[in-house]
Amino acid sequence: MAHRRTATLWSLAGLAAVAAMVPAQFEVFAQTPAPAAAPIKLGIVSFLSGPAASPFGIPGRNGAEIVLEALNAGTAPAPYNKVGFGGTKVEAKYVDEAGSAANVVTDFRNLVQRDQVDAVVGYISSGNCLAVAPVAEELKALTVFYDCGTPRIFEEKARAYVFRASPHATMDSVGAARYLVAKKKNITSYSGINQNYAWGQDSWRDFIGAMKVLAPKAEADKILFPKLFAGEFGAEVSTLLTSKSQALHTSFWDGDLEGFIYQEQARGLDKRMTIIATTGESSIWRLRDKMPDGTIIGGRGPHGPLAPDNAFNKWFSKIYTDRYNVPPTYPSYQMAQSLLGLKLAYEKAAAGGAKPNADQIAAAFKGLTFTGPSGETKMVLGDGHQGIQETAYGTYRFNKAKKEPEIVDVMRFPAECVNPPPGIDADKWIADGMKGAKC
């Protein structure tokens, strides 16, 4: 008898757990038959907690916030000067990307199905992008990745609803190799220190591949892969001190990059070899005079100080700096560029006047070419879903008079020079000698 009652109680507990989730559902029902003036809803996903929050997540989020604010006010420069998206205001919901792939996928579904957002813009981790892409396809949910780098997203499968305006990471490593070879023509030896996870491994693979093509005589000496967030790099610095390499490639970012720079500087490694930091741009405003002069700096594309001197850039870096008291870094630019691309696609699809659906926006986004704060983006790879841009590398110098970081000796590489042509996988393109590069 007692047990029967237990079973009943369990049923009640189960129902209660389900019921706990229901109110949100009613909210959705209430909003479905919305009036025409209802705002467009965007889900913005980036790291709001954990180690990737400070360098990427928060700048990305801030970039979205300030751009959407300007769009809603209609103060952005033309052709982005229509209010919101096509005259309708845009509302954003910010979600933390932290957690397992299961969490990220669940939160994505919640955004699309529970909150019924019109599009999701976000994702920093390549793993999360790879996990979200198939779900986005299954749900036919328009999704724009803004920062994740892996080329696999459009190489593994054709996608219909997934876009990425920012170029994939191959460009970063190829650009780094091209700049290095251009500046150090007689390089004989180089080393690499990259974090032991997909990003670090991929970056190094692309870099060494590009170096083999561009400087076949130079040899890779020390190849170091400390664990992610190792914090202490004493042994790595020692190993590198024993190397005769002229350059050191690193795709370290934020915490590890800054920690490494402090530690190598205390032991003078940068006096012996030039450091090429492919994400260095996102750290210059914190490292300031602690970033060694002469370091080769990349910013995952033409962002920040590497961005072209156009009206959009002036507008964006001004509104961002005014609000957050620090200049925008590349994640902010990537976010801005992605949002502006999405806005154009939306407005193109909405040309008829009615609110466009995901298919219409996707069709409009496909193959789009547009110009934003970081210059021109051409959606040409991945059947028009993956953007390419020019990239730029430069040499760091701290301007003591102005007390400001500077990037000098900037070299710009056209998009077709550092990106594979459509239809060819990045890995294969590099391995085959980067054929068809137009520099």
């Binding site: 079973a7 369990w10 910010y94 957690g99 996990a131 299954e138």
Partner: protein, 316 residues
């Protein structure tokens, strides 16, 4: 009589949960699928916890189950969901059986630490395996059901039903196990191992069985989760994943088999809610709930039921 009553109750709950699927929004079904898949791992931890052992490395089996499914699909193109789930369970079970020889010698915190070390070694191996995408992982082929290949909402319903089915069978078998000699010895072993040995039974043998059961359940859970998420990555073996499972175990308590399922669902709902409502403070929310559970509901959510029952029993 007693077991028949809880069996009927469980069955009613199962049928209700299964029938509810078409009426619930899709995101809720997906959330419940992942929750119920994870609940299997939690059930395994409950089996261990009854004997006083906590594994901070249960993600090892979860990850093995998940990768078994994903790799089979990737290498052979085989996608039958049920067979893949069983494969995940068996694969994890084999691993559990082999490392069980080692683990069964350990108790208390040492058991927790060694299982943590083992799961972290798998994590390291997967991170090193660039051909499998390292930390990015890779996607899982869309599962089929005896040749039937559903899509969209149909797919999530079928995965949900499959998960419920596996859960039901697992719950039934674990319930029977708790009533067997080996299962009933959990409290005695926790209380007094030497006495158990002197009753003529091998304590390490029994713990070994429990490690295997927990391993199989972990593998099944991982396999189902992999199909439901559609993606696997080494993070599934990381210690924080194990920590999450232990968290739910504490939330659920070890008193009832059903608590693992309700606890897991409650946890997923709570996490979803916290991320939604306070994206910057969700860790604090989860931590506080865990803390309050330990302080005020030391036997977990399950004890709410027994408390209610006692209160009712007191009333005429």
């Amino acid at each position: 009589m007693q077991s028949r009553a809880s069996l009927l109750g469980g069955l009613a709950l199962l049928v209700a949960a299964a029938l509810a699927a078409p009426f619930l929004p899709d995101w809720m079904v997906s959330l419940a699928t992942i929750a119920f898949a994870n609940a299997l791992v939690v059930l395994g931890l409950v089996v261990l916890w009854r004997v006083g052992l906590v594994s901070f490395g249960q993600a090892l089996y979860y990850c093995i189950g998940a990768y078994a499914v994903a790799l089979t699909g990737r290498w052979t193109g085989f996608t039958d969901a049920l067979a893949l789930v069983l494969l995940g369970g068996v694969g994890a079970g084999i691993v559990a059986a082999s490392i069980g020889f080692l683990l069964a010698r350990y108790r208390e915190i040492f058991f927790a630490m060694l299982s943590l070390a083992l799961s972290m070694i798998l994590y390291g191996v997967l991170v090193k395996t660039e051909s499998l995408g390292s930390t990015d992982g890779f996607s899982v082929a869309t599962p089929t059901f005896f040749g039937y290949a559903p899509h969209g909402a149909q797919l999530s319903h079928w995965l949900y039903w499959l998960t419920l089915g596996v859960d039901a069978i697992a719950a039934l078998l674990v319930g029977l196990y708790f009533r067997s000699v080996a299962g009933a010895l959990a409290a005695p072993i926790r209380d007094n191992e030497i006495r158990v040995e002197f009753l003529g039974i091998s304590v390490s043998g029994i713990i070994h069985t429990k490690v295997i059961i927990a391993g199989v359940l972990g593998g099944l859970g991982g396999a189902l989760a992999a199909m439901s998420i559609g993606h696997v990555d080494p993070n599934m073996a990381y210690w924080t994943t194990s920590g999450g499972f232990v968290f739910v175990t504490v939330l659920a308590g070890s008193g009832y088999v059903a608590a693992a399922f309700v606890g897991s669902l409650a946890f997923e709902a709570l996490r979803s809610f916290a991320v939604d409502v306070m994206p910057q403070l969700w860790q604090m929310t989860l931590g506080s709930v865990l803390l309050l559970t330990i302080l005020f509901l030391p036997e977990g959510l399950g004890s709410l039921v027994s408390r209610l029952r006692q209160r009712r029993a007191v009333k005429p």
